[in-house]
């Protein structure tokens, strides 16, 4: 087993061990923190696929995070008021079932990623950054003015949604759901990165010409990656909404996009566990520094600045050095 694989295992085991310890120590807040970290890690893994492998600096991933959240909020709010979403031409009722919500969240964010990606990927470089940012804002303003679902104030869901056989209101059981999703997403992307598709995507980041010259269309690679990436981040949004039992336009805000990017970079861009470490460190900083000072974002900013300027490759890069080639 390579050093990186050992590191990955230890990291994931720690993320599981802390809430289990907290469960027996009766520290539900710690479990909630770990759940938050795991959800952010999922969102980061989604972004890392386009950012790390595809070299596409999307500053609009909040769009998908928010869509996932609103998919949950809309379905659950209709279920809680017993008002169908639509009666004609077909009857669509709200639902409190997590699996159904996840499917809707994945579909909604996937379709949005397909449309946004198809348009944004016509451009490159700095245009791409600004366009993805602008699409995020477009959804943000839409959510702000969509008064049917709370507009600016957001929307509360009184009870967490249901999962067959589990009591989702028990923090450790909800953590379990999120943790299983994290494992699924992590294994899926780790496999994807090594697959022919992952190899081609990674090569398209390093040399577009090379990929074109062997007859592979880089646009198709990037669009596919963008859709998968958007769906994963959308799933994270649905889970995040369920964790808080609350949605608001801030899920769509550009700060959310920036924070998802911070998880990836803090941990280590293009490293398969970078987003997990980044999210864990982010939550830990938020918890400890936030306890010391109301203005902890100053320290977060300073840390981020130091990592970008002096520790390229993020924390994993510092700990493990450069990734081994040809594993």
């Amino acid at each position: 087993m390579s050093r990186e694989s050992i590191f990955d295992c230890v990291l994931i085991l720690c993320l599981a061990a802390v809430p289990i310890w907290a469960h027996f120590a009766e520290e539900p807040f710690i479990i909630t923190l770990a759940t938050r970290a795991a959800i952010f890690a999922i969102a980061g893994i989604g972004l890392n696929l386009v950012l790390g492998q595809g070299g596409l600096v999307s500053l609009g991933h909040a769009t998908f995070f928010g869509l996932g959240g609103y998919a949950m909020g809309i379905l659950a709010s209709h279920a809680q008021t017993y008002m169908p979403l639509s009666e004609w031409p077909i009857l669509i009722e709200g639902t409190k079932s997590m699996p159904v919500i996840w499917v809707v969240a994945l579909l909604a964010s996937g379709i949005a990623a397909l449309l946004i990606g198809a348009l944004s990927l016509r451009t490159s470089g700095v245009y791409f950054i600004m366009i993805t940012l602008a699409f995020g804002q477009m959804f943000y303003y839409f959510a702000v003015s969509w008064s049917a679902y709370g507009g600016d104030d957001g929307l509360s869901i009184y009870l967490r949604n249901d999962f067959p056989g589990l009591n989702t209101l028990d923090p450790i059981q909800f953590f379990l759901i999120v943790f299983v999703w994290l494992l699924v997403v992590w294994i899926f992307t780790a496999t994807l990165i090594r697959s022919p598709f992952g190899l081609a995507l990674n090569a398209s980041r390093q040399s577009t010409e090379r990929v074109e010259t062997v007859g592979i269309n880089p646009y198709h690679l990037r669009l596919t990656a963008f859709v998968i990436s958007g769906m994963i981040t959308g799933l994270a949004g649905a889970l995040f909404a369920d964790l808080n039992r609350f949605i608001s336009p801030s899920m769509f805000s550009w700060q959310t996009s920036g924070e998802i990017m911070v998880f990836v970079i803090l941990g280590g861009v293009a490293r398969r566990s970078g987003p997990i470490l980044g999210a864990v460190v982010f939550i830990a900083l938020e918890h400890f520094l936030g306890g010391l000072s109301d203005y902890w974002h100053i320290y977060l900013g300073a840390l981020l600045l130091l990592v970008v300027l002096f520790a390229r490759g993020g924390l994993i890069g510092m700990l493990l050095g450069r990734e081994r080639v040809h594993e």
Binding site: T123, G125, Y127, W146, Y295, G301, L305, V308
Partner: protein
């Protein structure tokens, strides 16, 4: 629809547009000359607004406030450039985005720490309060009219600066060929600091001027920054002319969208639903405009590079 209302909204759109231009001009210059994407440009807008509000509050003079805004934002810009930004010119866009995102966190929280979370207010100067009657019987705020005039004058001045001065020659040379200006013996790092500080001063000025018609608070810079991005994407990155045209288009789309879209939707839905859908669409219309421009010209109206 009453013609006076339309005229007033047109002027509002123009006013919004020229202020956006002040923001976009700095961004597009910095990108054109140094190849840098600066998210923290919105923080300089905020620095300008806070300096103006605080100094004019203490001194009682709007003019002192404006001078303070220019000085503080230019100084903050120069400092930012020397300490952080110049390490980023050779980095990729991702590093630039992250480092300048980090700067936003530091500037925003720093400002909150100094001034608190409550908004400050900047009063319109006595001499410019009230309204004037324009030809055609349009009554319009004198202050907003002044903003339009000031914005247009600065646009003209900037055009003159780029087209006819030594600095402008260096800037244009820097856009087309970085090695060339080094070969000509221009001190590049000084040129970069000057261009950056100039962009910062324009952003700070915009912040101070707009600060008098909205509240001055932490986070005010970023919505404007994102609109300025839309402006330069529409206009073409690196082009001052593009920034000007883009800014006016965005300004007018924003205000006219808010005016025309809700009544349009009333044609086929009830009034309250139309007001809600129409206002959503009005705030989205700018991004739809951008999408349309990009479908037609992926590098913007006047842009060449990507």
């Amino acid at each position: 629809m009453p013609y006076l209302l339309i005229a007033e909204q047109l002027l509002n759109g123009l006013q919004f547009g020229v202020m956006l231009f002040l923001m976009a001009a700095g961004l597009t210059l910095v990108f054109g000359v140094m190849g840098l994407i600066n998210l923290a440009h919105g923080s300089l807008f905020m620095v300008g607004a806070f300096s103006a509000a605080w100094v004019s509050g203490v001194s009682g003079s709007f003019t002192f406030g404006l001078i303070a805004a220019l000085a503080a934002s230019a100084a903050a810009g120069a400092l930012m450039e020397v300490v952080v930004i110049r390490r980023l010119y050779k980095r990729d866009h991702l590093d630039q985005v992250l480092a300048t995102f980090a700067l936003i966190l530091i500037f925003s929280e720093g400002t909150r720490w100094v001034f608190g979370s409550f908004p400050l207010y900047l009063n319109i100067p006595e001499a410019l309060s009230g309204s004037v009657t324009l030809p055609g019987g349009i009554r319009y705020s004198l202050y907003r009219l002044t903003l339009i005039v000031v914005g247009l004058l600065i646009a003209l001045g900037l055009y003159f600066l780029i087209a006819h001065t030594r600095l402008g020659v260096q800037v244009r040379a820097g856009e087309s060929d970085r090695e060339m200006i080094a070969a000509l013996g221009v001190d590049i790092s000084k040129l970069y600091t000057i261009v950056f500080a100039l962009g910062a001063a324009l952003a700070g000025l915009a912040g101070a001027l707009v600060g008098a018609i909205q509240s001055v608070q932490v986070g005010m810079g970023e919505p404007v920054l994102i609109l300025a991005f839309v402006v330069i994407v529409i206009g073409g990155i690196g082009s001052i002319k593009g920034a000007f045209v883009g800014a006016l288009l965005v300004g007018l789309t924003d205000t006219l969208g808010g005016l025309f879209l809700p009544p349009f939707f009333e044609l086929f839905m009830d009034a309250s639903a139309a007001a809600s859908a129409g206002s959503s669409l009005a705030s989205m219309s700018i991004y739809i405009l951008m999408a349309v421009v990009l479908i037609v010209k992926p590098t913007g109206l006047f842009g060449a590079k990507g």
